[in-house]
C-alpha cells in the first residue's frame, strides 16, 4: 500500500518524466503493434490464398458414377486430404459462366469436363505433398489429366516461408527496441530518484522495499502505455479499413496478451534498472 502510494507520489512529483515515459512506451509498443498487425494481415491473406490450393483431376467423358464415387472415397481416406468434391459437367459450365460472365456465350455444353476436386488439410499444402497427392489422383484410369497450379503452389509456399522468417525477425527486433527504450525511460526515472534511493538505503530500507514502488510504477506505465498503443493501433486500423483496404484486427486473446506483455516489459524493465542501480550502492 505504501509502495503504491510512493509510486503515485513519484509520478506526481515528476509529471513530465512520467508522461514522457508512458508516451515512449506507448509509441514503441505502437510501432511493434502496427508491425504485428501488418504481419497478421499478410499471414491471413496468404492463408486465404492457400485455402484455394486444390488438386483437380479431370474425368473422361461418360465415366459412370460408381467408379468415381469409389475413387472419391479412397481419396478422402488419404491422411493429407481434407475434402473431396465432384464437379459435374453441368456444374463446371455453370461455375464458368458465373465466374467469367463476360464470356458467358463462349461456353457450350460438353466443352468442360467433369472433375474431382481435392482440398488438402491446412499445414499440408506444401509443394511436395500437393505433387504426391496429385500423382495418386492421376493413377485412376478414368482421370485424364491432373492440374494443381504447379508454379504458384511453389511460389506461395516460398513466399509464406520468407514472410514467416522476416516477420519473426523483424518482430523480435521491434520488441527488442521497445524493451531497450522502455528500459531507458525507467532508468531515467530511477536516476531521477537516485538521492531518495540512497537515503532509503542509509536508513535501512531493504532492496525489496526500494524496488516495489518502481515495480508498481513500471507496471502502471506498461499497462497505460500498452492501452494507449492499442488505442492508436485501433485507430490506424480503422482508418486503413475505411479508406484503403479490408484488414482484420487482433482478436481478444492477442489484445490481452499484448497488454500483459506491456505490463511485463514495464516490470522487467524496472527490475533491471533498479537492480543495476542497487548493486552499486
Amino acid at each position: 500500500m505504501l509502495a503504491f502510494r510512493e509510486a503515485l507520489i513519484a509520478s506526481k512529483r515528476a509529471p513530465l518524466l512520467s508522461a514522457l515515459g508512458v508516451l515512449t512506451i506507448a509509441f514503441s509498443l505502437f510501432a511493434f503493434g502496427l508491425f504485428s498487425l501488418v504481419a497478421l494481415n499478410i499471414k491471413h491473406s496468404l492463408q486465404q490464398v492457400e485455402e484455394r490450393v486444390e488438386i483437380r483431376g479431370f474425368v473422361t467423358d461418360g465415366t459412370p458414377i460408381e467408379p468415381i464415387a469409389a475413387a472419391m472415397k479412397d481419396i478422402s481416406a488419404f491422411p493429407e486430404v481434407a475434402k473431396v468434391d465432384f464437379v459435374s459437367q453441368e456444374q463446371a459450365l455453370a461455375r464458368a459462366r458465373k465466374e467469367l460472365s463476360e464470356f458467358k456465350d463462349v461456353f457450350e455444353e460438353d466443352v468442360l469436363p467433369g472433375s474431382i476436386e481435392v482440398h488438402l488439410r491446412a499445414g499440408l499444402r506444401n509443394p511436395g505433398t500437393v505433387r504426391d497427392v496429385a500423382n495418386r489422383v492421376g493413377r485412376y484410369d478414368f482421370v485424364d489429366d491432373v492440374r494443381y497450379g504447379e508454379e504458384w503452389v511453389d511460389k506461395l509456399y516460398r513466399l509464406r516461408n520468407i514472410a514467416t522468417v522476416a516477420g519473426t525477425g523483424l518482430g523480435l527486433a521491434f520488441a527488442l527496441v521497445a524493451i531497450i527504450i522502455i528500459g531507458a525511460t525507467i532508468r531515467m526515472a530511477v536516476l531521477h530518484r537516485a538521492k531518495e534511493i540512497s537515503i532509503m538505503k542509509y536508513v535501512g530500507a531493504t532492496d525489496g522495499f526500494i524496488r516495489l514502488p518502481f515495480l508498481i510504477d513500471g507496471l502502471m506505465r506498461g499497462v497505460v502505455g500498452g492501452l494507449l498503443a492499442l488505442l492508436l493501433i485501433w485507430f490506424a486500423n480503422r482508418t486503413i479499413n475505411r479508406y484503403f483496404l479490408q484488414t482484420i484486427f487482433f482478436d481478444r486473446k492477442t489484445i490481452a496478451i499484448g497488454i500483459v506483455s506491456g505490463a511485463l516489459i514495464g516490470v522487467i524493465g524496472s527490475m533491471y534498472a533498479v537492480g543495476r542501480h542497487l548493486r552499486r550502492i
Binding site: M200, V203, D207
Partner: protein
Amino acid sequence: MIRLHHVAKEYPRTGVALSHLTFQIKKGEFVFLTGPSGSGKSTLLKLLLMEEKPTEGEVWVSGVSAKKARRRDISHLRRRLGVIFQDFRLLEDRTAEANVRFSLEVTGAPKSAFAQKVNRALTQVGLASKGTSYPRELSGGEQQRVAIARALVNDPFVILADEPTGNLDERATRGVFQLLKDINASGTAVVMATHDLDLVRNSNYRVIELNHGRVVYDSAETPPPGTGMTPPGGLPGSLLFPASDKPAGTN
C-alpha cells in the same frame, strides 16, 4: 560494540585508503575521527555503515560481521544506526516531518506510532515548531537538525556523523555539536569525523587521528602529548600534535 581487526581498504583505482586498523569503540562512547583531507575518515565511516567492505581484516558492528553480512542483514543493522552527513541529504520536496518519517516508513514499523515518534525526535532537536517547513525554508543548522532527528527517530545505538558541521558557521556548529553531546549523554554512542581541530581540542572526548589511512594517534591508547607521559615534540604525521618544536595547538 564496534570492533575493527587488522582492517585495510583498497579502492580499485585510487589504491589503499585505510590500512592496519585495529581498535574498538565502546557502547555509549563519543569518538572524534580526525585527520587531513584524504586520510580515510569517510572511508572508515563507510566501513561502519557497511556501505563498503574491508579488503582485509574484519569489521563488527553490533555483532554484525562485514564479511558475513548479507544485504538484508546490513539493511536491518542500519535501522539501528543513525547517519548524518556534511550536506544534510534531506529530500527537498518533503517537509521536515516527512523527512523524519521517511526513516520510519522503510522499517515497516506500525504506522500508529509514527506521528508521536516524529514529534519526539523533532522536539529533541529543538525544531518542534518547524515540522511543516521544507528544507529550503530552513537554515543550514536547522536542516542538519532535521537530519539528526531523522537519524534519531529509530532510537539508534550509535550516530555516525561525517563532518556534520562542515557546512555550518560558528554558531550553528556549536549548536549541532551541543546537540550531539546531549544525545551522547543520554547513552547513544557518537562517531564524528571532523576537520575542526578546535572542537576536538576543547572537548574531552576520545580522538582517533588518521593520516594516509593509518591511525597516528588514539587518545584511548596514548595520553595526549604534553601531559608529561609521552616524549615532547608531538607525533609524526599528526596535525593535532604536530612533530615540531612548537607547542601543540599553535600550528
